[in-house]
């Protein structure tokens, strides 16, 4: 893959990777740094990605996830609290109702366990296939559907509580 193509794909995946990293690290700024470091790693050694082994997205997401987990280990991070997740405010054009709905989603996601947050972001926010999710999370392909379903049901219940 040409480096320019890779850069373009990485730019397009940046937001998804940032959302995933935010769910793991619990902080938008730390997540942005982690994604930036992951991008630098990839661009520093573009030959590390082998297109024969699958598309770039799951490979990159796995790299971002592992990097975030390394960061957490190094910092000996405490379990995430709902308040620690970013309050990424809506733009000025967003209606108050939409902002409330977005806030409810963020709060409900923050209330889930990290593994449930991850799988929901990978599928519903990033639109990865089950096989790709299995590769990112290092799961058996057959377990993705059941885990995702449990996570969605949890999110649904939590959203009812958050309104």
């Amino acid at each position: 893959m040409k480096t320019q193509d890779m850069r373009e794909q990485l730019a397009q995946m940046g937001n998804g990777a940032h959302a995933l990293a935010t769910q793991i690290l619990g902080n938008s700024d730390d997540a942005a740094d982690a994604v930036q470091e992951a991008i630098a790693k990839v661009l520093g050694r573009p030959g590390g990605y082998d297109p024969k082994k699958g598309s770039l997205a799951p490979w990159f997401m796995r790299l971002v996830r592992n990097h975030c987990i390394d960061l957490l280990r190094r910092r000996r991070g405490e379990p995430l609290e709902a308040e620690s997740l970013p309050a990424t405010g809506p733009g000025p054009e967003a209606s108050a109702e939409a902002a409330q709905r977005d806030e409810a989603i963020r709060s409900a996601l923050a209330a889930l366990s990290p593994d449930r947050r991850e799988i929901i972001v990978l599928r519903d926010y990033m639109d990865l296939s089950y096989a790709e999710i299995a590769s990112v999370l290092d799961l058996a392909p057959g377990t993705v559907m059941s885990r995702l379903h449990r996570a969605r049901m949890d999110l649904k219940e939590t959203l009812i509580r958050y309104g």
Binding site: L10, A11, G14, H18, V35, T88, R123, M145, R152
Partner: protein, 144 residues
């Protein structure tokens, strides 16, 4: 009417990840089960809500700019590395020739070494201080 709910197959159905046989099973079950039908509608709405939620406030352009920064930083780093390596080689080369030069007395050699060595140490010290300040200055991005 099917009595056993299809559970996780609803998610697979929604995501287009089921086999044809599984899809038929879900379709058939949902046609007679109001609860699973409602669950499917709710799960679909939930998925749309998550996919449209601003979970990241950064834009593609920002990542592109950051990548350019990374390239600039990398090339700058390589440039500095080459410059310092060249300087060191030149320094050692000059020192070697100074040492073996028999046309100069020890005092002359000492003076030359002192002047150039002192300049090199001063330069290194200033560069190091600048680097530390650049890394630790909280107000470096503040425009006056």
């Amino acid at each position: 009417m099917a009595t056993e709910h299809v559970g996780e197959l609803l998610s697979g159905y929604l995501d287009g990840e089921l086999t044809q046989q599984q899809r038929q099973r879900v379709t058939l079950h949902c046609s007679g089960c109001e609860q699973c039908r409602d669950d499917l509608v709710e799960l679909r709405a939930l998925r749309e809500r998550v996919s449209g939620a601003p979970l990241s406030e950064l834009g593609e352009d920002q990542w592109r700019e950051n990548m350019n920064d990374t390239t600039v930083q990398l090339s700058r780093g390589i440039g500095w590395l080459l410059f310092i390596a060249g300087l060191l080689v030149a320094g050692f080369y000059a020192l070697y020739h100074l040492m073996i030069d028999s046309s100069m007395s020890f005092i002359e050699k000492f003076i030359i070494f002192g002047v150039y060595g002192g300049l090199a140490v001063l330069l290194f010290s200033v560069l190091r201080q600048r680097l530390i300040e650049r890394k630790t200055d909280k107000y470096k991005d503040v425009e006056i």
